[in-house]
């Protein structure tokens, strides 16, 4: 197979390695009337879609063919200019006046730069300076609050923890709903590889990274978010959930000038969102002191001054005192240092860029860090005026070290539930968290000291990644271009999870060695033809045909060495049992795509575009593996068409699109298989082999007789309006997507002997509104205030699942009793569990008359809904001379989170309110059913402990919190040294900035930060299983350009 592939690839490369056309490179710079560079200005060849935008220093370079006559230069806030090219190759453009059209070049599907006004669908573009130097390590964190139509939620503030992103809602029941990530035209992996270490598996491991973590933010030129299927349809099924198009910085200064950019930032991080805890009562139960409980239901401090709290520090019992900071002191001050160097040179014809970055983050949790090294080389050349050749290679090494969270024996699980009288800090300062023989030291039996767990049971990931691409473009004739792009993204992630002997989760010790290898090879052949005055004057046609070849491979191997012989020695050969969890797996998926696009532009105000794509997938039945999906979109700039020129409405465009996108099945769904046997869960389990006896059983999934692709159809309508010379602009969109024929494993009656069957069924809809508003309230020569706001409202609904099926659980790990589910009539991802029955007359919860506690819960009810009602974000940028101040805040209304941490605070008597009136009787709100009569109000008194333990049931409705939150996301203050100073030093600019990220939040209805999501990136949302808190980052950055 590989041979074939290579052969074909080389054929294709050779195919267009033989034609040349005449072209030249022009360079220039764009400045404002005062001579200051204008970054982000658009430079387009008139009548074509060839163009670029200016860099931060206002420079641009562009390859133009001999037929190109005129350049169109435009920038927001300025009038656009047209300049004859003639024989010139260098341009110096000074912008004047006010613009009358909104014009912006954005990178769309397949890396095609387009004038935004021609698009019939929504995209949103963010520039590099809106992303870098703001205190984010993961690109997705840097997008939070800034993009309409997108939901982004980080797992936690743990170093490297993954970030979930869904664009325009969730459209697939069980496939990934993360968008496709494309870097410089090459699809890359943003997968999350989870390590199943210990009995709690992924419910309790360190939060792994989504692989966008590997991207160096400093190297990002721009990010364009393709929101709907209409925008991403040419990427095919891979982009069914939208696409994030990342363009990295390229070399090539104007006029052959070289540039050196060096930047360095340093930030500190602190844990945020820790709730207020009580310091009146210590360890114990029922008001009595007990040495072996984590609960703080013991006697009041001061009442029994001589009681030792069971904690022996250096053999000495310490007094029964509160330790108000015993939880908060577990979190240390994290640090992030980030250095970056880019050297670029050459001219527009031959250029190169070499960059390197090193980021070192020491997380807020002990023994956690991320170390990321990036080295990138890009070179471009133009041969014989017609062949554009480019190659790029990026090498990344990312090391992530993390500690365990989750219910049960984990550093965080124990920490959050710790009694108020335990002097945890002293274990760190005195190093007594482990005994001389390396085993756990904690007064509570079978419980890990959080420091022991953090330092003895870490999970380390060491990833090496290579991203390489070559691209080749030919201007066969002035109107015909053939290009080919081949890219490979490959990484190997070596994981090591260790459990020391005496660990709560794996008492006999474990060394888990896991390796993930992922690679994606992607090739695109694209032929573009362009014709002006196509049959009709002023009707321009662009036609594109393309072919795509894609292969994805995932290999994982895992050796799990259990029951270690030698304490403190972590090699597989130290194990005595290897049969649990040791495995190997290979998943190979291939895709061939053929696509075409026809775009018509009439007089620059009416646009119509049609696309179609055939995909052939290896994962579908051989005779039915081809599927087709079309799209059509149109844009009409009515302000130009009707010649509207007044001071109020400066620009107006309406647009609409209908697009369908198909998505294939996961690999290997078509045959029934057997799996190695095993029974049980985290409370008791067995697995084969038993000694030397192997055992296999039929897989719990029944393969389908046939399978067809999933389809999502998206309808979108939108409007772009510019007012007051575009000082105010509005970009609004309404969308309605219908996803059908979902591929998923539907639950069947377990008594069939099987749990699921793979099927095509179901329907889900997403309806939503997106709004972007950009205002420039003040603009003077020295001062400018830009404000952009975005608003997102998405309503998801599961319309149907399969005949007779009203709900099923989202694949992944979950605790029985709070199952993330897909339920008919509900939005995607509701958590299903037991709910206390209510009295039909009063609506009050029913009380068990025998106990004064609540009646037994009714199972299979919707416990919580993680989907927010709406969210909005506002970014302000104020510029005064060399100063710039930017801040972003966002607000999310609604959505719910089920928090184990909050439950534990209550049930263990640690939360501040649990100390109030603790010695008085309490009554749970509710009613007592009376046979044949009206229920009476509950008057049964119970102790405070019973009261709070009832309200602290891990999976109860009392631990579902409204996730409404206002957050000051970012603040940054920058200062550019005056050019009068820098010029004399031959420096382009020196920029100094200070920033803060996740500055503060207000969550009126939640005990904890509701923006936590233990399972991170994935389809399971709204669950917090004793995970790390979020972090506030404050830092400073210095950037110099030579």
């Amino acid at each position: 197979m590989r041979k074939h592939f290579l052969l074909l690839s080389s054929c294709l490369l050779l195919l267009f390695a033989h034609v040349f056309a005449q072209s030249k490179t022009i360079t220039g710079s764009v400045t404002d009337p005062t001579g200051k560079p204008v970054p982000g200005a658009t430079v387009l060849i008139k009548g074509s879609r060839t163009g670029t935008s200016t860099k931060s220093d206002g420079s641009f370079s562009l390859n133009v063919n001999e037929k190109a006559k005129t350049l169109v230069i435009s920038a927001i806030g300025w009038a656009s200019q047209e300049i004859e090219i003639g024989s010139r190759t260098a341009f110096s453009v000074s912008l004047t006046g006010k613009e009358n059209t909104l014009s912006e070049v954005v990178v769309t599907s397949l890396g095609i730069a387009r004038d935004k006004r021609s698009l019939g669908y929504a995209t949103q573009n963010l520039k590099g300076d809106q992303i870098a130097d703001k205190g984010s390590v993961n690109l997705l964190n840097a997008l939070e609050g800034k993009v309409a139509g997108v939901n982004i939620t980080g797992a936690s503030g743990s170093a490297g923890a993954s970030v979930n992103i869904n664009i325009r809602g969730i459209t697939s029941f069980t496939k990934s709903n993360q968008p496709l990530f494309v870097v410089d035209g090459i699809p890359i992996s943003n997968d999350v590889d989870r390590t199943n270490g210990g009995p709690n598996g992924t419910l309790g491991d360190n939060q792994p990274a989504n692989r966008a973590l590997d991207l160096d933010l400093n190297n990002v030129e721009s990010v364009n978010i393709l929101k709907g299927p209409a925008a991403s349809v040419l990427y095919g099924s891979r982009a069914a959930a939208g696409a994030i198009i990342i363009t990295t910085k390229k070399g090539g200064g104007p006029g052959g000038k070289s540039e050196i950019i060096a930047g360095s930032s340093y930030s500190v991080q602190n844990a945020t969102g820790l709730p207020k805890l009580q310091n009146e009562y210590g360890e114990g139960l029922n008001g009595a002191y007990a040495t072996t409980t984590s609960s703080s239901w013991g006697p009041k401090f001061g009442s029994t001054p001589t009681v030792a709290n069971g904690l022996l520090v250096g053999g000495v019992a310490v007094p029964y005192n509160p330790y108000p900071n015993n939880i908060s002191e577990f979190f240390r001050t994290g640090t992030i240092s980030d250095s970056y160097l880019q050297i670029s040179g050459g001219d527009a014809k031959q250029n190169f860029s070499l960059s390197g970055g090193y980021l070192n983050q020491n997380g807020i949790l002990p023994n956690t860090y991320v170390k990321r090294t990036n080295v990138k080389f890009t070179g471009n050349t133009i041969l014989r005026e017609k062949i554009k050749l480019g190659a790029s290679v990026t090498f990344t090494n990312t090391i992530q070290n993390g500690i365990l969270g989750g219910n049960g024996q984990s550093a965080l699980g124990v920490l959050w539930g710790m009694a108020r009288s335990i002097d945890l800090t002293s274990y760190r300062t005195k190093g007594t968290y482990k005994n001389a023989d390396g085993t756990n030291n904690f007064p509570i039996p079978n419980t890990d000291n959080p420091y022991f767990d953090a330092y003895s049971n870490p999970l380390k990931s060491n990833l090496y990644r290579i991203l390489g691409s070559v691209n080749l473009g030919f201007d066969v004739t002035p109107w015909l271009n053939v290009s080919y792009r081949l890219g490979i993204d490959a990484y190997t992630d070596r994981r090591k999870q260790i459990f020391a002997i005496s660990s709560g989760r794996v008492p006999t010790g474990q060394d888990l060695e896991a390796t993930f290898f992922r690679s994606e090879v992607n090739g695109d052949l694209i032929i573009t033809a362009h014709k002006n005055d196509f049959f009709v004057k002023d009707l321009n046609l662009t036609a594109l045909v393309g072919q795509n070849i894609n292969q994805r491979l995932l290999q994982s191997t895992q050796v799990q060495a259990d029951a270690l012989a030698i304490p403190g020695y972590y090699q597989a050969n130290n194990g005595t049992v290897f049969s649990n969890g040791s495995n190997e797996s290979t998943t190979l998926t291939r895709l061939l795509g053929y696509y075409g696009q026809l775009s018509f532009a009439y007089k620059g105000y009416l646009y119509l575009e049609m696309t179609g794509r055939f995909d052939q997938s290896s994962t579908l039945p051989k005779n039915k593996n081809t599927f087709f999906y079309p799209s059509v979109n149109a844009g009409f700039v009515f302000s130009d068409a009707f010649g509207i020129t007044n001071n109020v409405l400066s620009y107006g465009k309406v647009r609409a699109s209908i697009a369908k996108v198909g998505s294939d099945a996961p690999a290997y769904q078509l045959s029934n298989t057997y799996v190695s046997g095993g029974y049980g869960n985290n409370v008791a389990s067995v697995s084969f082999p038993f000694g030397t006896t192997a055992g296999f059983g039929a897989s719990s999934r029944i393969a389908p007789l046939t399978l067809s692709p999933e389809f999502t159809t998206a309808y979108e309508a939108g409007v772009n309006l510019g007012f007051f010379n575009n000082r105010l602009s509005i970009d609004a969109a309404y969308f309605n997507t219908v996803s059908k024929s979902q591929i998923f494993n539907v639950g069947i009656a377990p008594s069939t002997g099987y749990s699921t069957k793979t099927t095509n069924a179901g329907k889900m809809t997403n309806k939503g509104v997106e709004l972007m508003v950009t205002v420039t309230p003040v603009q003077t020569r020295d001062f400018k205030w830009d404000l952009t706001g975005n608003f997102t409202k998405i309503v998801n609904k599961v319309v149907s699942i399969a005949p007779g099926v009203i709900s099923f659980s989202i694949p992944g790990n979950a605790f029985t009793g709070s199952i993330p589910s897909i339920k008919v009539g509900q939005p995607y991802g509701v958590i299903i569990g037991g709910v206390i029955p209510r009295d039909s007359a009063t609506g009050q919860r029913l009380i068990n008359p025998g106990t004064g506690l609540y009646a037994t819960t009714t199972p299979n009810q919707v416990l919580s809904n993680p989907n927010p009602e709406y969210s909005l974000g506002v970014t302000n940028n104020l510029r005064y001379k060399g100063f710039s101040l930017g801040f972003t805040f966002d607000f999310t209304k609604g959505g719910q989170i089920l928090s184990f941490t909050a439950a534990t605070y209550k049930s263990r008597g640690a939360w501040a309110p649990t100390a109030v009136d603790r010695d008085k009787p309490w009554i749970l709100p509710g009613v007592i059913p009376v046979a044949g009569g009206k229920a009476k109000t509950n008057n049964i008194q119970i102790p405070a402990q019973a009261y709070w333990q009832t309200l602290g049931g891990l999976q109860s409705e009392f631990n579902v919190y409204d996730a409404t939150v206002f957050r000051m996301r970012e603040i940054s203050l920058g200062y550019d040294l005056p050019s009068s100073i820098t010029k004399s030093m031959h420096i382009n600019y020196i920029r100094l900035s200070v920033f803060a990220n996740n500055v503060f939040f207000i969550a009126p209805n939640s005990i904890i930060d509701p923006e936590l999501n233990t399972q991170g990136a994935g389809n399971i949302r709204g669950l917090e299983f004793q995970s790390a808190p979020n972090a506030r980052t404050i830092g400073a950055n210095l950037k110099v350009s030579l």
Binding site: M1, H18, A288, D562, Y679, V686
Partner: protein
């Protein structure tokens, strides 16, 4: 350099197009092969019976020893649940429980693979189908005894029956020709018959219980008939009597503790029996000795045996009253399952780290004695009830690890306990009480006898809850998953106070 050569040789447009066409043509023809990569390298699609059998055998034992055992052991008050799910079971709250048991252990773990063994091996390798029929009969009886009506004749057959019928308990035990339901008795007899046939493949070490000795499986089958028969004393004593008479006449049942149908586990992590895995590894603090069990055993002066069943870390038994809200004793002092159920090779019980190798006992010699004693007493089948009763007690005591001298001493000093006396019903109570004690670690069997005979007399727990806080549950609720996916599931489900067909 290459570019140049190619450029020179293709200068006109038509040649370029030709080349393009050729390249695309080449691409299309190879697509088929290129895309033909969807056979999984990760899992087998065909397996021999020698790997299915160990999985089903462990499956039926795991189902017996895991959560169903914890729930029933709490219901019969062998143990008291003091934390988490076991504490909920203790007070009859089964909300959301037993999905793993119904789905993963019984139907998805054992039944589906037993059906595959029976269907694929009856013709050529009946040694395997014979064993599979016996195991199927056993595990279906467990399900039927716990839940009542359960899928049986249509169960485990995949898409052939997407909503398997819930066969009535009486039809499961007695058969129903018009509904195509083979009785458990006939299923066992058919299995025993298969064992005697010529078989192409025969089990060896993959038979984890008897090492491929099919004669021992025949004994297991006949013992299973005894167990099924005694279950019917309230509802079909005629059938019970005739089956027991036949088995006694055949004289080919488990007649020694060494022949017990007990599924072995190991000490290795991942091979440990579920009682150990739960009590000594993952959920140390969830369950402990019930005060009621302690009081019963004390009353019978049977504390030596109790010491084999439960630990005394502080030198004396520390128990907990079921459903109590009193402070729970410190973990380090609690009486918990001892090596009889948790297994211990090294003799080191203090840290609870080594063990898990005790077999899960599904059919035992002491059980046979108690069944035959009860049958002789109440059905008039052959044998001396008192001798059989005493043989049962002795077998249990020896099995528990008492020495011969300890057993003799107990018999000498407690003649009234070890001798049947009084009315038939009083004698029956003695037999069932001893059987109940012997079954510590197998709550399912004790729960079966309790519901069938009412012995031993148990009091409600403190603070009962659940479907009916006024009665000890007499069945467990169906699982939510089955109820929501099977249109033939009883709706609404019967409450836990609705008696089973064979119950008293």
């Amino acid at each position: 350099m290459k570019y140049k050569i190619l450029t020179n040789s293709f200068t006109n447009r038509s040649k370029q197009l030709l080349f393009l066409t050729l390249a695309i043509g080449m691409l299309s023809t190879s697509c088929k092969k290129y895309l033909d990569v969807n056979s999984t390298p990760n899992n087998p699609t065909v397996v021999p019976p020698s790997v299915l059998l160990p999985n089903t055998t462990i499956g039926i034992a795991f189902a017996n020893g895991n959560d169903l055992n914890r729930a029933t052991s709490a219901l019969v008050q062998h143990i008291a649940g003091v934390a988490n799910q076991t504490a909920a079971y203790d007070v009859y709250n089964f909300s959301g429980a037993f999905d793993n048991q119904w789905t993963g252990e019984i139907y998805g773990g054992a039944v589906s693979n037993l059906v595959i063994l029976i269907n694929s091996d009856s013709a050529t390798s009946p040694a395997y189908s014979g064993i599979a029929k016996l195991e199927l009969a056993y595990i279906i009886s467990v399900a039927a005894d716990i839940w009542g009506d359960v899928p049986y004749s249509q169960a485990g057959q995949g898409l052939k029956f997407e909503s398997p019928r819930f066969d009535k308990v009486q039809d499961i035990y007695q058969g129903n020709a018009s509904l195509g339901i083979t009785s458990l008795f006939d299923l066992v007899k058919s299995g025993i018959a298969d064992l005697g046939k010529t078989s192409a493949l025969k089990p060896g070490k993959d038979d984890m219980v008897y090492g491929g000795d099919l004669t021992k499986w025949a004994r297991m089958g006949n013992t299973l008939l005894l167990k099924f028969a005694i279950q019917l004393t309230n509802v079909n004593p005629t059938l019970a009597t005739s089956v027991i008479n036949d088995v006694i006449t055949g004289n080919n049942y488990i007649n020694s503790s060494s022949l017990d149908f007990a599924v072995p586990f190991g000490t290795a992590v991942g091979n440990q029996n579920p009682i150990f895995s739960f009590n000594n590894v993952n959920r140390n603090s969830d369950q402990m000795l019930s005060t009621r069990m302690l009081n019963l055993m004390k009353g019978l002066n049977d504390t030596v045996r109790l010491g084999k069943f439960f630990t005394k870390p502080s030198g004396s038994f520390v128990s907990y009253d079921n459903g109590s809200t009193a402070a729970i004793p410190a973990l380090a002092t609690r009486s918990r399952y001892n090596t009889y159920n948790t297994g211990d090779r090294s003799g080191n019980t203090a840290d609870g780290k080594v063990g898990g190798d005790t077999a899960i006992r599904l059919l035992t010699y002491f059980q046979v004695n108690f069944i035959l004693a009860e049958a002789a007493l109440t059905l008039g089948t052959p044998g001396d009830p008192n001798a059989l009763y005493q043989a049962g007690i002795k077998a249990s005591m020896l099995k528990a690890g008492m020495t011969g001298a300890e057993v003799d001493a107990y018999f000498t000093s407690n003649p009234t306990v070890v001798t049947l006396s009084g009315t038939v019903e009083q004698q029956r109570q003695q037999i069932i009480t001893q059987k109940y004690i012997a079954w510590v670690g197998n709550g399912i069997e004790a729960f079966n006898d309790y519901r069938r005979t009412g012995y031993p007399v148990l009091a409600l727990v403190n603070n009962p809850s659940g479907d009916d806080p006024t009665t000890i549950p007499t069945r467990l609720p169906y699982t939510n998953t089955e109820l929501s996916t099977n249109v033939n599931a009883p709706n609404p489900r019967p409450l836990t106070n609705v008696k089973l067909w064979w119950a008293k």
